[in-house]
């Protein structure tokens, strides 16, 4: 056996303990940076009006379509509005939608999943069939349909993204419920005479929290991508409100005339935000959910 191991060890999988440690450390450094970026973004969103020297909506015809300079770090658009100011202000709406949608989906999904998983029987059947129906749509396509039907404003976009995210949490919690409801401490809680609602929300749900946190972090990034894409095709947040996807759509028209900063920077903002959520989510998964480690 030792010869087999050394053969594969030397030729295919080169992996020393030091390399593994270095890998994890570096990955965590990256995630710490990502966490820092997220905190910075949040601070930026909260403090937007005091941070930016310009008005995001006030036109300034004299300085229209200027390329990045010391005065306007990320250039100006056709109306002379400062692009950096608009990007900073847009972080408010993008983060708000992501947070709102995640909160809404999380609370709905957790309750549905908990009830379905604990009660079982026809309740379970009913909930899971409804979840299946939602999951039969590619989520972005369903979000398109919902915003088209409801009309696009911020609240409807939040609702649309939330609906498409509910299955993530409902299925996760249901699976966990099925697992923990048979455990001895659940049995004990029942024997003592606790009511089902108390058992589920007091005793069982807290044990399902870690994977939910991981999913919610990853879902935040996905929600930012979705709201940006919806706005890009005109189904999300509409101008003049500044939103990253809508700004990219406006900038797209200037590619053929070479004003590259107009489409480039809002996209960078989206990418950095999503990347940070993903990195933090991945690290949380490593820390909280050892089963998924190494994937």
């Amino acid at each position: 056996m030792s010869t087999l191991a050394s053969v594969s060890g030397s030729r295919v999988v080169r992996r020393s303990p030091r390399a593994a440690l270095w890998r994890r450390l570096r990955r965590n450094t990256l995630s710490l940076v990502a966490l820092g970026v997220l905190l910075l973004l949040t601070a930026m969103a909260v403090l937007a009006p005091t941070l930016t020297p310009y008005d995001p909506d006030a036109p300034d015809a004299e300085h229209a379509l200027q390329s990045p300079s010391l005065r306007h770090w990320l250039g100006t658009d056709i109306y002379g509005r400062d692009q950096l100011t608009r990007i900073v202000h847009a972080s408010r709406i993008d983060l708000l939608v992501a947070l709102g949608a995640t909160a809404m989906a999380l609370s709905t999904g957790v309750v549905l999943g908990a009830v379905a998983g604990y009660r079982g029987g026809w309740t379970d059947q009913l909930v899971m069939r409804a979840i299946d129906a939602v999951m039969a749509f590619p989520s972005f396509i369903l979000a398109m349909g919902i915003t088209a039907a409801l009309g696009n404003n911020t609240l409807n976009v939040i609702a649309a993204i939330a609906i498409t995210h509910v299955p993530i949490y409902a299925r996760l919690i249901r699976g966990e419920m099925l697992r923990v409801r048979e455990m001895e401490y659940a049995e004990a809680a029942r024997t003592v005479g606790n009511r089902p609602r108390r058992i589920v929300f007091r005793h069982l749900l807290p044990n399902c929290v870690p994977p939910v946190i991981v999913q919610a972090t990853l879902a935040m990034g996905f929600a930012v991508l979705t709201v940006a894409a919806l706005s890009f095709i005109g189904l999300g947040i509409r101008p003049p409100m500044s939103e990253w996807g809508a700004m990219t759509a406006e900038g797209a028209g200037y590619i053929v005339s070479g004003e590259w900063w107009l489409f480039l920077f809002p996209g960078v903002a989206i990418m950095v935000t999503v990347l940070s959520f993903n990195l933090v989510g991945d690290t949380l998964r490593d820390l909280l959910d050892p089963r998924m480690r190494g994937l």
Binding site: V7, V12, V13, A136, P138, G145, A229, I255, L295
Partner: protein, 337 residues
């Protein structure tokens, strides 16, 4: 055993499709943006709207309305487009080949780049290939697809002048090849129409790369993870011990087993492709169904977009069914469960 599994899986799509039509019915008829209001026009009086609601059957019980909707859908009646004045189904079917061509080309890109990169990343773990592939994976997920599209357009069309302007499936002046499959590249090949082939390929490259790149990450990650696991397994160690050449072991024995889980991912990837299609079609003015749905909406015509949503969902359900059946066929453990 095999037949039983297949039958059960096929029957399972009936409740799913029922749920799908309930949702699209709700989106089409029950939510604001009342179709009677839209059809009657902005100047309609309340009486006029009520009359319109009666004529369209919107005053009937919901169950009756749903039944009407469902039987219409089953007959292929998806309503009429106010923009083109033609049946929506006809409009959609006419644009399906464009979307299909883009989707298939992107899938080819994703598989053709994602699988080899995943294998290399596993075989040379922690080497620069591994890092580059991880970077590409992380980037592909985090970069908004529409933005990647604009970026490649800016570089390859505006800056370098290598790509043609993003004006659809054929460059200006080129004529479409004789229609056989509706896929321009395939038709051009079949009819040996090299001018059309060149034009169609030139138009297809950037959107397909953009979309393929954006959906590649899950494939790559899956191949890398299963490859790592497989390389550690006993039968591979035994193959090493038996002195088989490296190439045979990695690309023969190990890879074959890694491709099975990739099949399950095709369904997920297809969902991402359908979503990405919409924005890529907008960026590159690609005349597919997503572009059609979004442009109709721009002219206040919400019928086509709901039909598009239904259409995509049905295709998605069927693709997932096909994936499950294929998986059950390839891996007997699934159907025995």
């Amino acid at each position: 055993m095999l037949g039983w599994y297949f039958l059960k899986r096929v029957l399972l799509i009936v409740p799913t499709l029922f749920g799908v039509t309930v949702i699209t019915f709700t989106l089409t008829y029950l939510l604001p943006g009342n179709p009677a209001l839209v059809k009657a026009g902005p100047l309609a009086t309340p009486e006029h709207i009520a009359e319109m609601e009666r004529r369209m059957g919107l005053d009937r019980p919901v169950a009756v309305q749903y039944w009407r909707y469902l039987s219409g859908v089953l007959r292929g009646d998806l309503g009429e487009s106010a923009t083109t004045g033609r049946p929506v189904l006809q409009d959609l079917l006419q644009r399906v080949p464009a979307t299909l061509e883009l989707t298939l080309a992107s899938l080819l890109v994703a598989l053709g780049v994602g699988i080899p990169l995943g294998v290399l990343a596993a075989v040379r773990r922690d080497s620069w290939v591994d890092h580059v592939s991880r970077l590409l994976g992380v980037g592909g997920v985090a970069m908004p697809t529409f933005w990647t599209g604009l970026l490649v357009l800016y570089v390859f069309f505006y800056k370098l002048g290598l790509a043609p302007p993003p004006l659809g499936r054929l460059s200006a002046g080129a004529s479409a090849p004789t229609a056989i499959t509706g896929l321009y590249t395939v038709d051009a090949l079949l009819t040996a129409n090299w001018a059309a082939l060149r034009s169609a390929l030139a138009q297809l490259v950037l959107p397909a790369l953009t979309l393929g790149f954006s959906v590649m990450a899950p494939l790559m990650r899956m191949v890398r993870a299963t490859m790592l696991e497989t390389l550690e397994s006993d039968y591979i160690k035994a193959a090493w011990a038996a002195g088989l050449p490296r190439r045979t072991i990695v690309y023969g024995d190990a890879l074959r087993n890694c491709l099975i889980p990739v099949i399950t991912l095709i369904g997920v990837v297809f969902g991402f492709l359908m979503a990405g299609n919409v924005v890529v079609e907008i960026v590159f003015a690609w005349p597919g169904i997503g572009n059609y749905a979004v442009t109709s909406l721009m002219s206040k015509d919400s019928g086509p977009i709901q039909s598009f949503v239904l259409f995509v969902a049905v295709v998605y359900v069927v693709v997932n069914l096909a994936v499950d059946l294929a998986y059950g066929f390839v891996d007997p453990r699934i159907r025995l469960r």
